[in-house]
């Protein structure tokens, strides 16, 4: 079990190995399909990208008294190409679910970033580790807007590490 706090350093990244269980505490940002399309056209990104963590999620609406609605990961492969320019700007960790392309994995290693997975369909469990959420960009996108989340012991597994290991392929 490895504990990580944001922002993420190159040293943190080098320490992670495919299959490791990771608990994240600190700030993470939500972004999925539509938010990525917009981020690629921004001169100034709406959050500090250096050492940042992006979580591919579109939560359910927040109820009174809750920090956020159900918040499990969405499939990551749809963001493969769009993630590359963000990693070049300093994005260090992406959290989602499922396998991604080999092209993405090589770009990720080149940029010294890692890909983590959270348990898909565990939206209620994962939301209990999110302590606050704040809308920071693209309100019109609704569930696809960018939120800044403060998380505590947010549970993930390392899927792709910088040493060339791939949890999905190594299983076979």
């Amino acid at each position: 079990m490895i504990r990580l706090s944001s922002p993420i350093s190159n040293h943190d990244i080098n320490n992670l190995k495919s299959g490791d269980k990771v608990l994240i505490t600190g700030t993470i940002y939500t972004a999925r399909d539509q938010a990525h399309i917009r981020l690629l056209n921004e001169k100034n990104l709406p959050f500090p990208i250096e050492g940042s963590i992006i979580y591919y999620v579109g939560p359910t609406p927040k109820k009174e008294g809750f920090a956020i609605g159900a918040s499990g990961p969405t499939s990551s492969y749809r963001m493969d190409e769009m993630a590359v320019p963000l990693m070049e700007k300093g994005l260090k960790i992406m959290i989602g679910k499922g396998d991604r392309s080999e092209e993405f994995r090589h770009e990720m290693m080149k940029n010294n970033a890692v890909y983590l997975i959270a348990t898909g369909g565990a939206g209620a469990l994962l939301s209990s580790r999110i302590k606050s959420s704040k809308l920071i960009a693209y309100e019109d996108l609704g569930a696809e807007a960018i939120y800044q989340l403060e998380v505590e012991d947010f549970p993930c597994f390392v899927a792709y590490d910088v040493h060339g290991h791939n949890l999905f392929k190594d299983r076979l």
Binding site: G58, T60, K63, A70, G121, A143, F168
Partner: protein, 279 residues
């Protein structure tokens, strides 16, 4: 002739979509618990624990099971002796509208393939009507997520492809999908009919009770064999490897053209949210 007021349909749809998005069926949870006992991989086992714990948090903490609360699919079986006093499509969509708002469920429908503007109330539902004997209205209701739907497929095989051809297509589809459809999955298969009917009966097969088997002995055997062979693929929960890739295989079939063997494979994630209501 029995008259049913559309408001009763609306109410049933509203209550059902809220209930299924907060509460997993006991039969599903017990299948996951059974799978966990046989699971040899530690990561896989820990993911199965997460899924069970998630269902408890959702039910007790009043949080939806998954952030993808899905597209609503309704199979409405209308008795010949039933008269619905109004528009059944409007009644169902109104139930979706009310349920997704009052239940704090995510609205995931967009209007157009390229404009992609959210319809803001999760309508329209995908509605399949049929007429059956009797004076009842049966509603089979599902909230179907996008991740598993995206891994589904329809293929027109040749009759000579036979059982082996069907098996190969199913195994390839499940293997290629890997972790994307949120395994452990339930695999719904439609054999026969034609191009579009195969897909509809594949979806309908996913709404069968988890423990049942096909009435046809050849099809029932194929369900059993595919269940075993899929679980030997090693995909595992969320694709991380393991013994638990599928929880059930369901196959529905129809007669078909002499030249065709249509095969539709509809993948259901582990959060199988559906219910049957008889009015």
């Amino acid at each position: 002739m029995r008259f049913i007021d559309p408001s009763i349909i609306t109410e049933a749809i509203k209550d059902s979509v809220i209930k299924i998005n907060y509460e997993l069926d006991d039969s599903l949870i017990s299948l996951i618990q059974k799978a966990k006992k046989k699971e040899r991989s530690n990561i896989a086992s820990s993911i199965l624990d997460d899924i069970i714990e998630n269902s408890e948090i959702a039910k007790e903490g009043n949080v939806p099971l998954c952030q993808d609360t899905g597209v609503v699919v309704v199979f409405a079986e209308v008795g010949f002796d039933v008269h619905i006093d109004g528009n059944i499509y409007d009644a169902i969509n109104e139930g979706v509208r009310q349920g997704y708002s009052e239940g704090y469920l995510r609205k995931s429908m967009v209007n157009h393939p390229f404009e992609r503007v959210n319809t803001k109330d999760n309508t329209p539902a995908m509605i399949h009507l049929s007429y059956v004997k009797g004076d009842k209205l049966t509603l089979k209701i599902a909230s179907k997520g996008g991740g598993s739907e995206n891994m589904s497929t329809v293929k027109m095989l040749t009759p000579a492809a036979g059982i082996d051809g069907v098996k190969k297509l199913v195994l390839d589809t499940v293997f290629q999908a890997g972790g994307k459809p949120c395994p452990p999955i339930i695999v719904g298969i439609g054999l026969g009919g034609n191009f579009e009917k195969s897909a509809i009966i594949a979806k309908e097969s996913l709404l069968r009770p988890l423990g049942d088997k096909s009435d046809d002995p050849i099809i029932a055997r194929l369900e059993d064999e595919l269940y075993d062979e899929i679980n030997k693929l090693g995909v595992g929960p969320m694709g991380v490897g393991g013994d638990t890739t599928c929880l059930a295989v369901k196959i529905n079939y129809l007669p078909m053209h002499i030249a065709s063997l249509p095969v539709a494979i509809n993948i259901q994630c582990h959060s199988a949210r559906h219910i049957e209501v008889i009015l």
